[in-house]
């Protein structure tokens, strides 16, 4: 790889003095400002967090395998549900997307690196500390946060332990990291596109990330404010959310979900981008409706700011407000539907082939749509009163987050991994990983719809006897899905050791875009001289 510097002229020694060699050892990773290194760090960090958060899910499923309390204390169970959520959202899905953005955005727009490489290093390296703080709080006296990842007041203010301070600071650090990452993406896309790379020529992954970055900029500060208010309410005697002091606990939910709803699109828009890259490649056709994809993404992002109260129908809102939030929420299914139909239309009469990334992409389209439809059901105010806080909600957001966001990340890794390492991954392992994940994830999450509709509440370590059979199956699916990810781990370790057959520059024969025109493996520095996009 060291010798594989690209064809560009590197005349002056003023900058790029590290052009010829890649630093070695630990310091390479600690001090790196290279977008590819930082992308790799983000992706590995996200995967480790995925396994840690997954281990917590295994504890949850083990406890719920049978009715009754057998394995863990209820308080510890609550910590598991809370920290599982926090880790998967802020530690796994978001860093994985940031990692992909780091690797791919510069390569896709023909930039030599991210615009702010030193800040890039910081935005990654503060993350491990955030999660170290969060995870270490589990070992404190009284345990870690146990109020759910949504940390509703007064659970997080009046009824929480002292470790809440650690929770707040770790969320602050995660937020700062995300904001720095988003700034980097925006500045890179605004200022560093190759000549001729107009906005409407940018690959959809770049477009969706640009919009995601704006969502991050808009709502991560709101999350920071929310945790700050919780902190001062708990430790410094303010009454933002305390009725006795003139505050209002419902206000917490408004502020939280004003962040929280755009947040769910932060976790799905880049996924839309990934699928929009993969489907055309393996259909050997241009993406159907490129412009409508861009506008659909932007409309989803805008609408995400006016639907937050659909998480709060049961707090007692006036009927007019409930109607507004119900209709606004349902409206989101229009641009989302545009996307799904565009993907299907891209495949229509295409010359399809089913390589691993395509299999994940198709699984994404089908399963994400199931999650979208249950979301539509939840949007209906009167029925939400029944579904609220049941396993139906759990089924819904796991379909959109696991078979949606996580499957898209896996699809992306399989799609670009040969470009990163220069070798084809182990296809047999990949097939095992795909089919085991696909089957187990449905055994895991589909029955949750049924127990949810029948009234099983979420976040409770015990349940009524009639839910026992379904829960047994759910747990079995959960363990199987957890184990399936070890196949992925084995595959990734092999890939990082550069085992496997060498691949061509284009890797996939239908692949189009700047990243497929550079050598495989991608050289340490690319596009020192900008390519010209026609």
């Amino acid at each position: 790889m060291t010798s594989a510097t690209d064809t560009t002229a590197h005349v002056d020694g003023e900058h790029h003095d590290d052009h010829h060699h890649i630093p070695k050892g630990l310091t390479r990773w600690l001090f790196t400002t290279n977008h590819k290194d930082i992308g790799t760090l983000y992706l590995w960090f996200a995967f480790i967090m995925f396994l840690v958060g997954g281990a917590m899910a295994m504890v949850i499923r083990a406890e719920l395998f049978q009715p009754g309390l057998q394995i863990v204390e209820p308080n510890f169970f609550n910590q598991m549900t809370t920290v599982h959520g926090l880790i998967m959202v802020f530690g796994a899905v978001m860093p994985a997307f940031t990692g992909l953005a780091n690797w791919l955005v510069p390569m896709m727009i023909g930039a030599p690196d991210m615009a702010l490489p030193r800040m890039n290093n910081w935005s990654f390296w503060i993350l491990p500390f955030a999660f170290l703080i969060l995870l270490s709080s589990l070992f404190m006296e009284g345990g870690g946060p146990a109020f759910g990842w949504t940390f509703y007041a007064p659970l997080s203010t009046t009824y929480s332990g002292d470790s809440t301070a650690l929770f707040v600071f770790s969320v602050h650090i995660m937020g700062i990291s995300s904001i720095m990452g988003a700034i980097n993406v925006i500045v890179t896309i605004f200022n560093m596109r190759a000549p001729g790379m107009t906005y409407m020529k940018m690959p959809l992954f770049v477009w969706t990330w640009l919009i995601t970055a704006f969502l991050l900029i808009a709502v991560m500060p709101v999350l920071a404010a929310a945790v700050t208010m919780v902190l001062t309410d708990k430790f410094f005697g303010t009454s933002f959310f305390d009725a006795a002091g003139g505050g209002d606990p419902v206000l917490f939910q408004h502020i939280f979900w004003f962040f929280g709803h755009p947040e769910v699109y932060i976790m799905i828009l880049p996924a839309f981008g990934i699928i929009s890259q993969i489907v055309p490649t393996f259909s050997r056709k241009k993406l159907f409706g490129y412009a409508s994809m861009v506008y659909a993404t932007a409309s989803i992002a805008l609408l995400s700011f006016v639907v937050w109260a659909h998480h709060m129908f049961t707090t007692g809102m006036p009927v007019a407000a409930e109607m507004f939030f119900m209709i606004a929420t349902m409206l989101i299914s229009v641009p989302t539907g545009v996307k799904v139909f565009n993907w299907v239309a891209t495949m229509w009469r295409g010359s399809l082939s089913f390589e691993i990334p395509m299999m994940f992409a198709i699984a994404f389209i089908v399963l994400f749509t199931i999650g979208g439809l249950s979301g539509l059901m939840l949007a209906i105010t009167p029925v939400d009163f029944q579904y609220h806080d049941t396993y139906f909600v759990v089924a819904h957001f796991h379909y959109v987050l696991v078979t949606g966001a996580v499957f898209s990340i896996m699809a992306a890794v399989y799609y670009w991994l040969p470009k990163w390492t220069g070798k084809m991954f182990d296809i047999t392992l990949a097939k095992w990983h795909f089919w085991c994940s696909l089957i187990s994830v449905n055994v895991l999450f589909f029955p949750m719809h049924f127990v949810g509709l029948a009234g099983m509440p979420r976040r409770i370590p015990d349940y009524a006897l009639q839910f026992a059979d379904f829960n047994k199956w759910i747990s079995v699916g959960g363990f199987a899905f957890g184990l399936s990810q070890l196949i992925f781990l084995a595959l990734l370790i092999k890939a990082c050791r550069h085992q496997g057959e060498s691949v061509s520059d284009q890797v996939w024969d239908g692949a189009e875009g700047l990243e497929w025109e550079i050598p495989s493996p991608a050289p340490y520095h690319t596009f020192d001289t900008p390519p010209v996009v026609k």
């Binding site: 200022n191 000549p195 991560m220 500060p221 006795a244 006036p318």
Partner: protein, 206 residues
């Protein structure tokens, strides 16, 4: 590098007029500055939501909070064609040991007519406690039309150990009350605020 850029720009110009040639030599600081304004703005906006929410609720009545200041009885015309039923519910917040109940549970009243209800409280413990009653009206919209000329909830309620008291609440309903509301509930929740309010009420108790 200079030459390189020149060449590229020329090449790009030949191909098509592109709106965005500049690359790494662009001033990223400016873009970052603009984005940082947005970040700081959104952080402040989240805090601004706190008073905005209060104002919004006061205008629309959606959270059922009643006015925290005494209304002046403007002697509106009493609308004898309508009778409104008002229910009074009392509860104490968990950990608050007082006895607290409404002596009148239910009042039938014409809009515009003055009504008075009394609430009984007793501090059965051996320590002095300061309480704060927080009212809430259901449906919330009715809170906009409930005018209290006198209410214990406007102040803190300090009771010495073992003391008891009767607390009055005088109110009238605005005749503008929407036609569809003929019944509403006023609930008082009593909170123990001894710790936070000690200093403030010291004066009141002496």
């Amino acid at each position: 590098m200079q030459d390189d850029n020149k060449n590229i720009e020329q090449m790009a110009d030949q191909i098509q007029p592109s709106p965005t040639q500049p690359r790494q030599d662009v001033d990223h600081g400016k873009t970052v500055g603009k984005i940082m304004l947005l970040v700081v703005g959104m952080f402040c906006f989240a805090f601004a939501l706190v008073p905005l929410y209060d104002v919004f609720c006061r205008i629309t009545g959606i959270n059922g909070k009643t006015n925290v200041e005494a209304a002046v009885y403007s002697a509106p015309e009493v609308d004898e064609t309508r009778t409104i039923t008002v229910d009074f519910i009392t509860r104490t917040h968990s950990g608050m040991p007082w006895e607290f109940e409404a002596q009148t549970r239910k009042v039938d009243i014409h809009p515009g007519q003055m009504g008075e209800v009394t609430f009984y409280v007793r501090n059965p413990t051996g320590r002095d406690i300061i309480a704060q009653a927080v009212p809430s009206v259901t449906p919330g919209q009715a809170s906009l039309y409930l005018n209290k000329t006198e209410c214990f909830c406007f102040q803190h309620q300090p009771l010495k150990a073992g003391e008891e008291a009767l607390m009055p609440m005088v109110f009238y309903i605005d005749p503008q009350l929407p036609e569809n509301i003929n019944f509403f509930t006023l609930q008082y929740t009593l909170y123990d605020i001894t710790e936070t309010a000690e200093d403030a009420v010291e004066v009141a108790m002496n």
